[in-house]
Amino acid sequence: MSDISGHNFHTTFYHWLKRRGRTLVISVPFWWLIVFFLAPFLVVLKISFAEAIIAQPPYSQLLTFAEDGVVQLKLFISNYGYLLDDSLYISAYWSSIKIAFVSTLITLLVAYPMAYYIARSPSHRRNILLMLIVLPFWTSFLLRVYAWIGILKTNGIINNVLMWLGIIDEPFVMLQTNFAVYVGIVYTYLPFMVLPLFTNLVKLDESLLEASSDLGAGSLTTFLKITLPLSIPGIIAGSMLVFIPVVGEFVIPALLGGPSTLMIGQVLWNEFFSNRDWPVASAVAIVMLVLLVVPIMLLRNAQNASNEEGA
């Protein structure tokens, strides 16, 4: 009897798997995102509506059980109001977005020729070049940023070489300026721009370029009229991968930037660790998320709409 029921169990399980297998496979990353992304986000969202108190943990509870079975819900939206009151936050957001925008643009300008060159290389050399792009990831990110300190500082490599060559008498001040921050960001995020651009450009049908040339276009016109428009999806993907993390970047401005460098990542750090004001820190994080997510969603919608129009 037990043998038969065991057999039945197996076949039912098999049929269940056959029907539900798809759902099962999809649900793994789905739950991963819920547990490790959505849940922490909700926790942060909750804290952003709390009040800072001197306690462990350093914020008030939203729900409190008062006497007589009354449940109290206290939402402090003052944290968000505070962000508007103090010009520090607005200028930090603005400066972060500005730095992210400019460095995304520079990264794009540097990465495009690289990606184009790699995509046009013969396939055996292409793999080596792609390896070289990814190679820096094999060293710790922190170490690489520290290395830039050695290169950029007043008696660092660049200044020493320039002085030795007699090109300059006084060393340039590069470290602890926005310049150093840009250098660090462009250097660090370059692969994130090169790779999506490469994936796009390598698909470009060479006969399109020949057709353009055949119809009377020089190389520049062909680039502007054919290559560039067709690589826009790659440009958008790469720019997103650079812009979004750079807005919240903390390590690079902390190590390479100076007193004039103002980015939201540092502000957040200060609120959290120096001021121990978790609710305001959470509000800063939530606002940053909204600032990033809303334009991306709008862009997505615009892209989808134009795709549908084309299809």
């Binding site: 006969s207 020949e210 057709a211 040339s213 119809l215 009377g216 276009a217 016109t221 054919i226």
Partner: protein, 386 residues
């Protein structure tokens, strides 16, 4: 072989001037000793070719025979290793593709996917600095010519294969090139559409008076389209001639075999007279008699090639002493308009015979395993020495 006979046949086809026969016109395109090497591989090997104004010239060959490379050198996408190309008296050596008086229709069509049909077609005109209004007027007319006026605003991926092919044609014709290069122009179309489009292509070519060079691997397409065909193999041009000439007077076994189907008997000259030749072949039952002289020597090895439709198959033994073989019907393919017989000869060789089905019902129907005689006229085949 006998050049005089060929000349005669050329003349008798008649209809239209044939500058390649009369030699009274300067060739429009002169290709001289053109060679292209990719590393050790010779893609195009010492090709010389003259093409005349308003010709529709087909380069015919299997894949990898160098026909596309030759076309790409004419367009300027590949630089020759040696040799010269002259178009309308101008040396093309240092002329970039965008400065050449040629346009190309690509095998994949290479339509710009991000542009509408009319923008694709207008592209060439706008690059020459033409005003937008004027350019789009011309585009409208061109789209009418290829019957796509209702599709001007569509993107290439919203079109069928045949429509894309027309857009590609319109785009390559809009600049009124002196020379249009077409790389497998009908390759991506299905059979029925291909046949319709062939005639359309000829009409357009004739009405615009542009010189066409078409690359194709499809011999039927080449026969239908072209004024002349250049057969290519392993980078060389093996034979150039009008379709009929290539079909009826192939100069080598390769050409005879590549264009259409053919039965080839290998043999040796047994009797070489001024006005006839006899060939003895171990594959045939009796001697082969050819009713004209052939420049060859006694006992020389050569090949007799004859097309399946020039053979007659009967149950009755032919009366003549020469030019017949005997065998058993091995296979019959009934194709409606004609039947193809595979006949196994006494020597074991299998030959193909086609017979057009003129009668709806035949009393003396030839069927499987029948003993049959296959015979042919004295001048029905060709003698090949290579």
């Amino acid at each position: 072989m006998n050049a005089s006979t060929q000349k005669n046949i050329n003349g008798s086809i008649a209809g239209g001037a044939k500058p390649w026969v009369s030699q009274d016109q300067e060739p429009f395109i002169r290709i001289n000793n053109l060679t292209k090497k990719f590393g050790d591989f010779t893609a195009v090997d010492n090709v010389s070719l003259d093409i005349y104004r308003e010709e529709l010239f087909c380069l015919l060959g299997g894949s990898g025979c160098g026909k596309s490379t030759l076309l790409r050198m004419l367009a300027g996408f590949e630089a020759p290793t040696s040799g010269t190309i002259m178009i309308d008296g101008q040396d093309m050596a240092n002329v970039a593709p965008f400065d050449r008086p040629t346009n190309m229709m690509f095998q994949s069509y290479a339509l710009f996917p991000h542009m509408s049909v009319e923008k694709n077609v207008a592209y060439g005109l706008l690059r020459d600095g033409m005003r937008k209004r004027e350019a789009f007027e011309q585009v409208g007319e061109m789209l009418k010519l290829v019957q796509l006026q209702d599709f001007a605003k569509r993107k290439p991926d919203q079109l069928s294969g045949g429509q894309r092919q027309r857009v590609a044609l319109a785009r390559s014709l809009i600049k009124k090139p002196k020379l249009l290069l077409l790389d497998e122009p009908l390759g991506a179309l299905d059979k029925k559409l291909r046949e319709e489009t062939q005639f359309e292509l000829i009409n357009i070519q004739e009405s615009l008076g542009v010189t066409f060079i078409v690359v194709t691997h499809d011999q039927e397409e080449a026969m239908t389209l072209s004024t002349r065909i250049g057969v290519m193999n392993e980078g060389e041009i093996i034979q150039v001639g009008e379709p009929r000439e290539i079909y009826e007077f192939p100069q080598s076994k390769f050409v005879a075999d590549f264009i259409g189907s053919v039965n080839i008997f290998e043999g040796r000259v047994s009797d070489d007279a001024t006005d006839y030749v006899r060939i003895k072949s171990s594959e045939a039952d009796c001697e082969i008699h050819i009713s004209h002289g052939v420049s060859c020597s006694e006992n020389q090895k050569l090949w007799f090639a004859i097309r399946p439709e020039k053979l007659e198959v009967t149950h009755k033994k032919p009366r003549g002493k020469f030019n017949w073989v005997c065998g058993l019907v091995d296979e019959i393919a009934y194709q409606g308009n004609l039947s193809v017989y595979r006949i196994k000869l006494t020597s074991g060789k299998i030959i193909r015979v086609t017979k057009s089905n003129r009668l709806r019902h035949n009393e003396d129907e030839i069927t499987w395993d029948d003993k049959v005689y296959v015979s042919w006229e004295d001048a029905a085949g060709v003698v090949l020495t290579q």
